[in-house]
């Protein structure tokens, strides 16, 4: 039923969606607590529907109108850019050059900022809550949409991969939403950086492979070469973390001894 690449596709999309869903949940909670839940939920639901429409329209348009090689170049280029962005952030955080993503702190900051905003009510609705929630979910979700569409269309002109990618995203978002509703606080314990590191390695490996294939590169061993690419990227990533961690510690030590 599932091929190896479909399993990788679902796991990657789920991990990416979980990371973004945790961040969106923090915004929703801050908005709901300070400005009320009704408009907050409405904003989140409208954003979610808008994202689903983007997946449908973008996916259908690309499937019917874009040549497979051009599609692979577009998919690969986008995945490579997103993957590199995720990996860079994860390497900087792991080596100490950037603070770890702390949902509890972000939540406190968001709540303080939203408390300063006046409640702008139209009827029983609060437009601040709606806009904050909509923007939070839409912007965090847009990256997931791009990953779902690009990853989902990697196999060419059929819907099967896109369906699995979308399903992976929906499951991850639903799980985070349920956990968030149960614990009723931001999910600070989700290992976001580890997930970003893993997803980044996979996105860069697949991105390089598809971009190259679309451009006419003949990869040795065909699809199996993706595993070799992933191993090379992973080794470089961990090498960079070790190198920059040492550099960061040395700088820290020198700053304290001067």
């Amino acid at each position: 039923m599932f091929s190896g690449s479909t399993i990788v596709l679902i796991i990657t999309v789920m991990a990416a969606s979980a990371v973004e869903a945790v961040e969106a949940l923090t915004i929703i909670m801050a908005s709901g607590i300070t400005h009320g839940w009704r408009s907050t939920w409405e904003g989140a639901i409208v954003a979610f529907l808008a994202l689903a429409a983007v997946v449908g329209v973008l996916g259908t348009t690309i499937i019917h109108h874009v040549d497979i090689d051009v599609l692979r170049v577009i998919v690969g280029t986008l995945l490579l850019i997103f993957g590199m962005q995720w990996l860079t952030k994860a390497i900087l955080r792991s080596s100490g050059f950037k603070a770890m993503h702390d949902e509890a702190k972000i939540f406190e900051k968001d709540v303080e900022e939203l408390k300063k905003e006046k409640h702008i009510r139209t009827g029983k609705r609060d437009s601040v809550a709606f806009v904050v929630s909509f923007k939070g979910v839409f912007l965090e979700g847009m990256e997931v949409v791009m990953i779902v569409v690009t990853f989902g269309l990697s196999n060419g002109n059929d819907y099967s991969q896109l369906k699995w990618a979308a399903l992976g995203a929906v499951i991850a978002i639903a799980v985070i939403a349920v956990i968030g509703a149960i614990v009723a606080k931001p999910l600070a314990k989700v290992p976001e950086n580890t997930l970003k590191l893993g997803v980044g390695i996979i996105l860069v490996s697949f991105g390089m492979f598809w971009m190259g294939e679309g451009a006419g590169v003949k990869w040795p061993l065909s699809d199996v070469f993706i595993i070799i690419l992933a191993a090379i990227i992973a080794a470089t990533t961990f090498g960079l973390i070790a190198f920059f961690k040492r550099a960061h510690n040395r700088m820290h030590h020198e700053a304290h001894t001067v």
Binding site: T77, L92, S95, V204, P220, F244
Partner: protein, 73 residues
């Protein structure tokens, strides 16, 4: 005239959104990826050089991007 201004305003916002989304604060990444793509096209009929070039350039891009970001911090 007013309609044109409104269209321009929304087009500009739309383009800025995508520019921020795809390029963000790492323009070197977007440029680097396009260089890798161009190199892959140019070397696609050169035997195994295309594979070596794509992999090497991607690793160099990764190292340069992380190094630049550490300097900023």
């Amino acid at each position: 005239m007013k309609i044109l201004k409104t269209i321009w305003k929304y087009t500009k916002s739309f383009l800025l959104f995508w520019q921020d989304f795809l390029v963000g604060d790492s323009p070197e990444l977007a440029v680097g990826v396009l260089i890798i793509l161009g190199t892959a096209y140019l070397l696609r009929k050169s035997g195994d050089w295309d594979v070596a070039a794509v992999v090497a350039l991607a690793l160099i891009l990764m190292i340069i991007t992380v190094w630049r970001k550490t300097r900023e911090h």
